[in-house]
């Protein structure tokens, strides 16, 4: 066995540990030279991306990866399990992390000149937490990583706008802690009745219990649902989200908006399908039905509230609330098409929303403006940035040829398959609402003042900020036209497995 092979075996663990160790080394790197911090983050994120890709590749070609931490056999030891679901999510985390990392160089230098070292330290810890939550197959270990990611997120947000950032972070801290407590209680309840913390093991043990109508299990499910609903900002538990997204530094907004809620959704799926069973959440408790209605409500109300905003980041935050509704709607529909639509939207929304937040950051970087009614002439001043905004915005609306369309189409199809016409109407209505709040911005960027803009000169954001934005916009179109590939290789088998018996750990 060569040295390379020896490392290959440990890649699932290294995906989590690399950013963790790198995060702790950051102060040393920064002590040598502050400029090195960014290069260090880049190197680490690149390695993480490679490892995440390798993980997913292994899963697609050879099947689920089981990694026993320290050689302890599950269910006693902690087990890391990578299947299609978390392999897919890990890759998104690593990719968005890298993109935001590239972007952060200029943005952080301008917005947080004195906090570069702590920022990047926490940045890597956030990635660690998210990766860990995703990869682990042990629910207590999951909770540990949940706390790591949440604490890093609080810290990142608190670095944002003076005063407001701290308040937003504190709000989030309170809400996040309530959520975490719910989740911890749920874990405790399940441990009490099953004596196990391993997800796969639990899935085997639980059916006997809830077939006997065990109230503890029901309570645990309820706790999980509430806890994760707060974490993903599902309406009406979304109150922390707009402030947190708005007042965080631009880079952090993009990272948190692109990833935090996605991982929350991932966790929800994992618990619903792989700790409990689809039969339990769909038929016995009908939790999924509640979820779809809440999601439908979130879709509409999120969009309506987004229309009322004039701060672009706040508008995008409310739009996130609505988009999370799409994902949960697809999952709650409990059929193959809907599930694929929901899962696909995790990917799609990560691209779109991350691109949009990066654009908002770039505009703020150049002009200091966040109010969309002051965006006059931006089309001429920052043509590339605004073009990215146009593509991502059209994608959010769901114009065919962009990623937003494919998931929307699948969700509508899935709703129809369940005979839920009302959800089809909700999805389409939300498209229209999306048009309203995005078109307002388009109009302000390109129209309405032909004579004032004549003297405006081009003044584009730095290249290091443009590159990730352009890549994300290109992906919005690429996966809009080639959605077949993720669907065929990942999401179709995954949805079948999830709906069928519940795969995984």
């Amino acid at each position: 066995m060569s040295g390379f092979d020896m490392i290959m075996v440990h890649i699932p663990l290294l995906t989590v540990v690399t950013p963790l160790i790198a995060g702790f080394l950051m102060p040393i790197v920064g002590w040598i030279d502050r400029k090195l911090c960014w290069y260090w983050v880049m190197a680490i994120m690149f390695v993480v991306l490679l490892m995440a890709s390798s993980n997913l590749y292994t899963v697609i070609t050879t099947g689920t990866i089981h990694y026993e931490l320290g050689g302890w056999k599950p269910p006693v030891g902690i087990e890391y399990v990578i299947d299609l679901l978390n392999g897919f999510v890990c890759l998104i985390i690593a990719f968005i992390g890298l993109m935001v990392g590239i972007y952060s160089k200029e943005s952080i230098t301008k917005e947080l000149p004195n906090k570069i070292i702590p920022f990047y330290s926490v940045f890597l810890l956030l990635i660690t937490g998210l990766m860990g939550m995703t990869i682990t197959g042990d629910i207590f270990n999951f909770y540990v990583f949940l706390e790591i990611s949440s604490l890093s997120a609080y810290a990142l947000i608190a670095m944002g706008d003076r005063g407001d950032g701290v308040v937003a972070s504190f709000n989030y801290l309170i809400m996040g802690t309530v959520a975490a407590s719910f989740i911890l209680l749920g874990i405790g309840y399940l441990y009490a009745v099953t004596g196990s913390l391993n997800m796969a093991d639990m899935q085997n043990l639980l059916p006997d219990l809830y077939n006997n109508n065990n109230k503890v299990v029901l309570a645990a499910l309820a706790f999980f649902m509430v806890g994760f609903s707060i974490k993903v900002g599902l309406f009406p538990l979304h109150a922390w989200l707009p402030d947190a997204y708005t007042h965080a530094p631009s880079t952090a907004s993009a990272l948190i908006a692109g990833l935090m809620t996605k991982v929350g959704v991932y966790a929800l799926i994992r618990f619903m399908f792989c700790v409990f069973t689809p039969a339990f959440v769909f038929d016995i408790t009908r939790m999924a039905e509640i979820l779809t209605w809440a999601a439908a409500l979130a879709i509409i109300i999120g969009s309506v509230l987004a229309i009322a905003q004039s701060d672009i980041k706040r508008m995008l935050a409310y739009s996130s609330i609505s988009q999370i509704g799409y994902i949960l709607l697809g999952i709650g529909l409990a059929n193959l098409i809907g599930m694929q639509g929901g899962l696909l939207h995790i990917l799609n929304h990560a691209f779109m929303k991350c691109a949009l937040f990066l654009v908002a950051g770039a505009i703020f970087y150049k002009t200091g403006i966040r109010n969309i009614y002051q965006f006059k002439g931006l089309g001429k001043k920052m043509p590339v940035t605004t073009l990215v905004f146009l593509i991502a915005g059209l994608s959010m609306i769901g114009i065919p040829g962009t990623v937003g369309f494919t998931s929307k189409y699948y969700l509508a199809l899935g709703s129809l398959e369940e005979g839920m016409w009302i959800f089809v109407i909700v999805i389409l209505l939300s498209s229209l609402l999306n048009i309203v709040y995005f078109w307002r911005v388009f109009d302000n960027i390109w129209f309405g003042h032909p004579h004032e803009v004549e003297h405006i000169k081009q003044d584009e954001a730095p290249v290091s900020m443009l590159i990730p934005m352009v890549i994300l916009a290109a992906l919005c179109i690429f996966f809009g036209l080639f959605a077949y590939y993720p669907l065929h290789y990942i999401l179709e088998p995954l949805s079948e497995a999830l709906i069928g018996s519940g795969v995984g750990p």
């Binding site: 089809v424 129209f447 309405g448 809009g480 036209l481 669907l487």
Partner: protein, 497 residues
């Protein structure tokens, strides 16, 4: 009847040409001559590519090309049949004229943001051709939405408060239509597992319950709001705030024809002749569009702004096309389909004349046009040709389509529809003759000197007027529109060529 299919990427190229051109237009934005040069190159190339496919189509073949498998079972694909190429030839041919006309119009008026204008125009043309060549509903929807978005900046071009609010109105109507169309597409896919057009309609739709079928049809027709059926027509007069070349090509040809084209695709290639007949939808739809035909003509009479009058006339004429298709008789469909190119040539002439009046005489309202023919005799002559065509007087083309439509209605022995067609002809005369009268016979308020629009504008409008006459005199010339339409009709009705 089995049709032979040929696989070729020409249709994809024909769509792409103006996309590529749009990028070049943007790149050369600072050099007006080169920029507009690219538009010309694109227009000619596009037309050549489209016309190069015509011989195969006239042979009764169908050209297919799959661009990309977007989703499982949902490719973005092109299929060129006789009906598609009819619309494609009309739009791409007229683009050449309008390019020349645009240059004259935009430069004379010293309009701002011309690069954006040519850019969006090129994208809009790509979308129109894309709609013409779509093989399935999803591809059609893609280009349908692209057309809406790319024409918004053209409508809001002047960026005045009025233009922006008209633009919003435009967007609201057409986006709601888009959503409704998507809804219908999802329902069709859910019911049949495909969205591909077929000469006999998509198999499997007949299994739907009657209520669902009716809802589906209504959703589709709301989706075709680009065809400006009443009461979904209000965006069209509002869109007249756009520069006249836009009104001429897009709001008399590309956009609105895309609407009726889609409506016919849905009526004949999704529902199919048989299902339309058995469900009885055809007659209801025929009455529904009859209302538009009559009402829009009456509205047209009340307009003093020439462009708005023409817009209402378009609303009325578009419904002729749909009326023809829903008659589902051989003659009716022929009349309807043939009206797409015929109306295009006549109406674009009229709009280009209106634009010439704006540029040269600075006049938009009919009441100010006393004796204007003394100043611009050629323009007003061309206008007269277009107007006669609209009314249906030989030898200008319009009488042929009306003849076919009347034949179709007569075959059904439906007195109401015959009556509608006759009344509408009278109404057409009632709102076009006053314009001609005012221009030629009323005394001008002050002495007018001969002054025509620049040649870049004058030549296109004269040529389209001449073509309007030619297609009236030799409608059955080989390879001309009637030939193509006959093949298309044979396809959908199952008859031989």
């Amino acid at each position: 009847m089995v049709t032979e299919t040929v696989n070729s990427m020409v249709p994809a190229l024909a769509v792409l040409v103006s996309m590529v051109a749009s990028v070049l237009i943007l790149a050369f934005g600072k050099y007006p001559n080169i920029r507009e040069g690219w538009t010309f190159v694109a227009a000619f190339t596009k037309f050549s590519l489209v016309i190069s496919m015509l011989p195969l189509i006239l042979d009764g073949k169908v050209i297919t090309y799959t661009v990309v498998k977007m989703l499982p079972n949902l490719p973005i694909a092109f299929k060129v049949d006789a009906f598609g190429i009819l619309f494609a030839i009309t739009s791409s041919f007229l683009w050449i004229f309008v390019t020349s006309y645009s240059i004259g119009y935009m430069r004379t008026l010293k309009e701002h943001a011309q690069t954006r204008y040519y850019f969006c125009f090129a994208i809009a043309l790509s979308s129109a051709i894309g709609i013409a060549f779509s093989a399935n509903l999803i591809t059609l929807f893609l280009f349908y939405e692209l057309l809406t978005i790319s024409t918004y900046p053209l409508v809001a071009h002047t960026e005045t408060a009025e233009a922006i609010s008209s633009g919003r109105k435009y967007l609201t109507y057409l986006m709601i239509a888009g959503v409704s169309l998507l809804f219908a597409i999802v329902v069709v896919y859910n019911a049949t597992g495909t969205t591909e057009f077929s000469f006999n309609g998509i198999a499997g739709l007949e299994t739907l319950e009657r209520t669902t079928l009716i809802i589906l049809f209504i959703a589709f027709m709301i989706g075709c709001a680009k065809a400006a059926f009443m009461p979904l027509h209000a965006w069209l007069p509002a869109a007249m705030v756009a520069p006249t070349p836009v009104s001429a090509l897009l709001h008399a040809v590309a956009v609105v024809k895309a609407g009726v084209f889609t409506a016919i695709r849905i009526i004949l290639y999704v529902f199919g002749v048989d299902l339309m007949e058995t469900s009885g939808l055809w007659l209801n739809m025929a009455y529904f569009v009859s209302i538009t035909i009559i009402l829009a003509s009456i509205f047209a009479m009340t307009q003093n702004n020439l462009k708005k009058r023409l817009a209402y006339s378009t609303v009325s004429q578009l419904s002729y096309v749909v009326l023809g298709a829903v008659l589902i008789t051989q003659h009716g469909i022929t009349g309807g389909m043939l009206h797409i190119p015929y109306h295009a040539f006549m109406k674009i002439t009229l709009f280009m004349c209106a634009g010439a009046l704006i540029v040269t005489a600075k006049k938009e309202n009919i009441s100010d046009m006393n004796g204007i023919a003394r100043q611009m005799p050629i323009t007003m002559l061309a206008f007269t040709v277009g107007a006669l065509g609209m009314i249906g007087m030989p030898p200008v083309g319009g009488y042929i389509t009306k003849w076919y439509l009347l034949l179709g209605a007569a075959e059904l022995e439906n007195m109401i529809l015959i009556g509608v067609l006759l009344i509408s002809a009278v109404l057409n005369a009632a709102y076009f003759f006053p314009v001609i009268y005012v221009a030629f016979f009323k005394k001008p308020d002050k002495e007018l000197k001969y002054k025509e629009a620049p040649l870049t504008m004058l030549i296109p409008l004269v040529l389209t007027a001449i073509i309007s006459i030619i297609i009236g005199i030799w409608p059955d010339a080989p390879g001309l529109f009637l030939d193509i339409v006959n093949i298309a009709v044979a396809n959908v009705t199952g008859g031989g060529i």
